[in-house]
């Protein structure tokens, strides 16, 4: 074996330049998360009445909010991918369907969509069932949590489609042309060249959507889903203490969104390679 010295990647040399030290390993914004959690804990322990009572009362609401956020986000990723690929499809039918979906859904406020799915959709289904004389459909009843997840997924799926589409389109055409000229099929070049690059482009907006979705999930409280917001309102309606209730609810949302923001930042960092 010859003793040729190994070439160091240029990146590691740069790391020793002044002002270009490796960034602190622990993300300093975790401090904010700790601060907000600390504030919540202080309120709950120092002023147990009413803060601990509020926390106990809204506990199941937090679980419902988390369940709705996680499940609709997971479904949104899938729906968005289908929608995004549809928007890019050369087949005019697929393209048309995907564009129609995005344009219609994006044009209706989420609150209106949720109310429609819960209060109007079941009646429509029941009437169709009666018309077809199928009792299973005629007796269709909406499950509030399921309806909420479906409503949010349909709405956020449209936004997500556009994010995926923009991500894939942001990769220069030369990339796919190069991949094709190396003998890859269209699918292979998508799988090995385009998508891996597009994922990095879309990660920040996708993470952003996750946090926006968590916050928008409070809208499901109008369709009688007992989420964090509704539990807060129920508590306030009995104890008449809006300041404490909404401070607590705001802090709880903040804890959840800040935690998610850190997770998103961590994933972004993990997937950040040199271009």
């Amino acid at each position: 074996m010859d003793e040729q010295p190994k070439l160091k990647p240029s990146g590691s040399k740069l790391a020793y330049l002044p002002g270009a030290e490796t960034v602190a390993r622990v993300d300093p914004w975790w401090g904010l998360v700790v601060l907000v959690i600390g504030l919540t804990v202080i309120l709950v322990t120092v002023r147990a009445d009413p803060f601990w009572d509020i926390l106990k009362f809204v506990r199941d609401g937090i679980a419902v909010t988390a369940l709705i956020t996680v499940s609709s986000f997971a479904l949104t990723l899938v729906v968005g991918l289908i929608g995004g690929l549809g928007r890019l499809a050369r087949n005019p039918f697929l393209h048309g369907i995907a564009t129609l979906y995005v344009e219609v859904v994006r044009g209706i406020p989420l609150l209106v969509q949720l109310i429609w799915w819960y209060f109007a959709f079941p009646t429509v289904v029941q009437q169709i069932g009666e018309w077809l004389n199928i009792s299973v459909i005629a007796n269709y009843h909406a499950n509030p949590i399921f309806t909420a997840i479906m409503g949010i997924t349909v709405c956020y799926g449209a936004y997500m489609s556009e994010i995926y589409r923009a991500g894939i389109q942001s990769i220069p055409k030369g990339q796919i042309e190069a991949a094709r000229s190396l003998g890859m099929t269209h699918f292979q070049s998508m799988r090995h060249v385009i998508i891996p690059q597009a994922v990095r482009v879309v990660l920040p907006p996708v993470g952003n959507e996750l946090i926006a979705l968590l916050k928008d999930s409070c809208l499901v409280s109008v369709v009688a889903v007992a989420d964090l917001t509704r539990r807060g309102r129920e508590f306030m309606a009995v104890h008449f203490n809006p300041i404490e209730v909404w401070t607590m609810v705001a802090l709880l949302y903040l804890v959840m969104t800040l935690l998610l923001a850190r997770v998103v930042a961590w994933i972004e960092k993990k997937s950040h390679f040199e271009r």
Partner: protein, 246 residues
Amino acid sequence: MKKLFGYVLIGLALVSLVLPGCTPETTEVVVIATDATWPPFEYVDEQTKEIVGFDIDLMTAVAEKAGIEIEFKNVAWDPLLAGMALCQYDAAISAMTITEERAEQWLFSDPYFYAGQIVIVHIDNTEIASKYDLSGKVVGAQIGTTGSFEVENIGGATLKTYDDIGLAFQDLMNKQIDAIIADNPLALGYIGENPDKLKTAGDVFTDENYGIAVCKDNPDLVEKINDGLEAVKAEGLIEELVEKWL
């Protein structure tokens, strides 16, 4: 220069935040909160978009007798309750039952109407005949109403709260909940409009009195309202309004 302009703008914005707080009140308009989703006591008329109803007519007559100028403000029920506790409104008339918990937070006028809670079910429902059959059922009520407190007192019943009672009735007509507990006159109004879909189950099972809520810092206003209320009662207005609205 640009920086200066920025500071001036921020300054102006701050001043504008403070200013409305110190405008002197020249005419004393009493702000009356109401949750106009509770027909026939208070609701928004389809044609005129005005708040109308039993309570609105009554309050207008009372104000006239008491010599106060009033202005109605349409607010949702749970913010109305919280707002009364914090004196954000001078008074509220909204088919509000006088309860001990509420009386600790604000003042009440003399009672002006007698009502009670009743169970409403879908017309196809044969299982539920009274509130004693509600165990294991999903029962709807408006958030923070005496109806919702009654549901909580029924062992085994699951309470579902709605922003306004209309949504609860919609859900019941879609058969997505088993029953509703609400005030008797309101329930009869909804059943009157949807006789093919709704019916009552059992009799009225609570005794409740409606009162006008008044902010606790304003005992004078309670007196004025009580005097006005007495005067209109003496004229037989309550009976007239019952005739007109119920």
